[in-house]
Symmetry: D2
Subunit: 285 residues, 4 copies
Amino acid sequence: MRYKLGCNLSYRVESETLFIFNVEVAELVRHKELRETLSITPDLPWRRYTVPDAKNRYTGVLAPPGDLSLSYSAEVDLQVHRADPATVDEMPLSTLPLDILPFLLPSRFVSSDRLALFAEREFSRLPKGHQRVTAICNWLYENIDYKRGSSDEETTADESLLKRAGVCRDFAHLGIAFCRALNIPVRFVSCYAYGLEPCDFHAVFEAYLAGRWWLFDATRQANLDGLVRIGVGRDAAEIAFAMPYGTMEPTGMNIWIERAHGGEPAQRTTDAISTEEPAPNAGAS
Amino acid sequence: MRYKLGCNLSYRVESETLFIFNVEVAELVRHKELRETLSITPDLPWRRYTVPDAKNRYTGVLAPPGDLSLSYSAEVDLQVHRADPATVDEMPLSTLPLDILPFLLPSRFVSSDRLALFAEREFSRLPKGHQRVTAICNWLYENIDYKRGSSDEETTADESLLKRAGVCRDFAHLGIAFCRALNIPVRFVSCYAYGLEPCDFHAVFEAYLAGRWWLFDATRQANLDGLVRIGVGRDAAEIAFAMPYGTMEPTGMNIWIERAHGGEPAQRTTDAISTEEPAPNAGAS
Amino acid sequence: MRYKLGCNLSYRVESETLFIFNVEVAELVRHKELRETLSITPDLPWRRYTVPDAKNRYTGVLAPPGDLSLSYSAEVDLQVHRADPATVDEMPLSTLPLDILPFLLPSRFVSSDRLALFAEREFSRLPKGHQRVTAICNWLYENIDYKRGSSDEETTADESLLKRAGVCRDFAHLGIAFCRALNIPVRFVSCYAYGLEPCDFHAVFEAYLAGRWWLFDATRQANLDGLVRIGVGRDAAEIAFAMPYGTMEPTGMNIWIERAHGGEPAQRTTDAISTEEPAPNAGAS
Amino acid sequence: MRYKLGCNLSYRVESETLFIFNVEVAELVRHKELRETLSITPDLPWRRYTVPDAKNRYTGVLAPPGDLSLSYSAEVDLQVHRADPATVDEMPLSTLPLDILPFLLPSRFVSSDRLALFAEREFSRLPKGHQRVTAICNWLYENIDYKRGSSDEETTADESLLKRAGVCRDFAHLGIAFCRALNIPVRFVSCYAYGLEPCDFHAVFEAYLAGRWWLFDATRQANLDGLVRIGVGRDAAEIAFAMPYGTMEPTGMNIWIERAHGGEPAQRTTDAISTEEPAPNAGAS
């Protein structure tokens, strides 16, 4: 399915500020025929960096005091991989590629080490595989309130669990926490999300099952097969859409995604969905 | 200087356990003529993985119930790079390679985002560069008690600061927290430490200044020019010497390091010390 | 029912230490014919204080370096008040005596303010009254593991909820947290507990319903009608059995309670149980 | 000195709400010739309660949906007790009245148990007595930023210390935390504060030294001899000026205090100031 998407971000810069943006569509094999334009106003030099494995694309700009705006638009053909969830198994720890193991570790907002017994009590007896991660998402959907303003950029998975409220980043962090506690590798995903109302940058997570990364969204707010990936990381600490170092104020923000060729609104899928090729198991010998 | 070093680790495995060990000397350019042997008893198949940039070396073993022991010994010629600390400057954020920026982010045990004002109050007016990181280490040495048993594997930098006590990992986490809060990239380092009494795996940190990584040890317990690196990571969550997934009990642990050719005990150096080549600035364009 | 009970506590005092003990049976109307002896060795002067409303009895001793032991034994006739739980209603907030309201406030180990939404999600739709507090106890019994060593003297209700494990003090703190979050006044109770195996000081909680305080024990480890009260307070911070100010080591501890006249072991009761007279509603005008 | 003071509080009540107000001047011996009026609009029945020892005065009102306002005004002659700080000694723990000891315990916002080593490192070697508590206040004034909006009603002393920022309640909590950690009994005080700009309810703390309670204000924002007490408690959890149980929105708030007879603005005093009579040592035997 082909999508048009993009964002406009604007800032009032008070003192010289280094911005690191991460808003561009990741260069994945399944992001076909990507056409895009990025412009920054005023016209300033920028630097770019793509993270080798993750394919996150960072753009760094040093902005003087005054107004700054970034405008990004892209078209991309998203070719998702689908499978019957019942066929997507968990992998025994001993068969996981060693380069996947860091995604079992606790991170800034996901103290999965402290939630081990909680996860074991709730989820360890469920049937394993894609369906167990879905069960975790269902538990979150039923037990946590989606509530704007209930969290901020320092909120951890622990705190969301105690408050039983959060937004998309918090649902992703909780899903990640429980999966890690159960020895399922997981990572945080930022994306453009077709069907999200109102449109915004969205956060979901991916679990590594049966040799590849599969998408999960415990908020049930978007179509799993309409997520165009921007970045992946251990948790939200690693993939903010904008990291400003300096003094500035955001003054505007607009995100959009639509079908390139119109048509019926997408149905929510019950397939298992992946947008990345199987890992080549590289690194293990 | 040439060193002999190694470790013996033994475990009583209750249920099948996957061990990921990270005890081998990193394959750095300045770790010359590394000769080493690693043996695991009983004789089990193992898998190895070296992290591309960090050069951390992981060995994975799936151990059945019973006894397990790992024995590692190595000889290595450590060729440190020395400089006058006064010549080692901080880099403006806008000149840092973009692949270094993740080392500014908060992590599991280092919520540098919450310590921003603390760091600013104590350290922002000090002269910048190597000497400012040394000033942070001095502050830690004077304000935090080195106290065995005062922390455990879940202790965060915040908690150590409130308790004003910790062990080497906690001193490293606090140094990392303050540096990140001041926009100095830093990473956690595990190593064999010549001069450490009693000998153990040691934790210090490295700050990225003037285009390369420099070693710091706020505990003042070992020689900066006698640290043979094992691993680097965001914090202790990433580089435990052993990560066991399963049920087991450690039954023995022995670590050693000595000079290969004897001689006088080393003096503590006041040089700035680095054991890695300058980063090639790769990734930035 | 008449009980014999008591405790022996011994310490090795390193530096002069002020001990505040709270081990004596509270002087309640329903603690009939209390006969008791308290001795402290060596023979030191002591001071006593009984808290006006709570009736907690404190004994203060200033102990020089050396051994210190306290020996307490008592006989008491415990006359519990029983009711059909279905008849014990919650009181509308506006009818609660104002001097009861402090028991709605968060305290050191019970941050009920942070658990408001959690409590609302789980318990707000249940039928009110004694049965709702029983439902909270049942939820705790089913969702939290009783696990020796899973907590220490700084563990909060939040932490126990995340760990899903605790001992009697933690079960009491969680019951208190949920009740306060639902606007049910509750307090922490320390007691001698008939039927507890192995015998120890026990912690339960009391909820204020239908004009009096009713006992609850989410651990299900003792008989509600065999609890001889020592003290009440907002939480465990207020009623340790011993608060030592100084340097010392506990060297022994022995607690016991048995029926004065033998007989069959008590059955667990399903009655609502109270051991205190209705509050006189004093203070309100 | 005679003061005129008062407050107007108004609310928009959405659903029936029980308000507990604590805004009236405490009935202390040194609050002479208190004349006051309290009115609530609309005209609703209210209940009153005065805490026996603390003398806090609570007024409870059950408000239906609609507007609610409270208006309080008073005149009072504040007769402070003054002393030379050098003469105000700390009391050995063993000589403290036992009913004072609860003010050594940690509470909701003051986890003094976790700050024991911090307090010891900073303050244990200072000369004891009133001057040591003043030294703590000076340390807070120098090390913590007074910053509106830096905390909220769930902020603890720990968090303020890590952030090095807070408002009056946080300064009071930190002073209380350090004093308790040093075995100095302390309590939280809410008051009308002459000289505070802009005028608001103020929070300070009292330490129990030389047999009576002495006032301290680490914010240096008001005159110690111009504080007209409203309430005392373990910490802010116990003495909010308004505790609403229900759904409502504050719509207005106005607090004032001025001299009854005009005259020169008061100078900041360097005397030790107490507004309460010495405790009668009651309760100890």
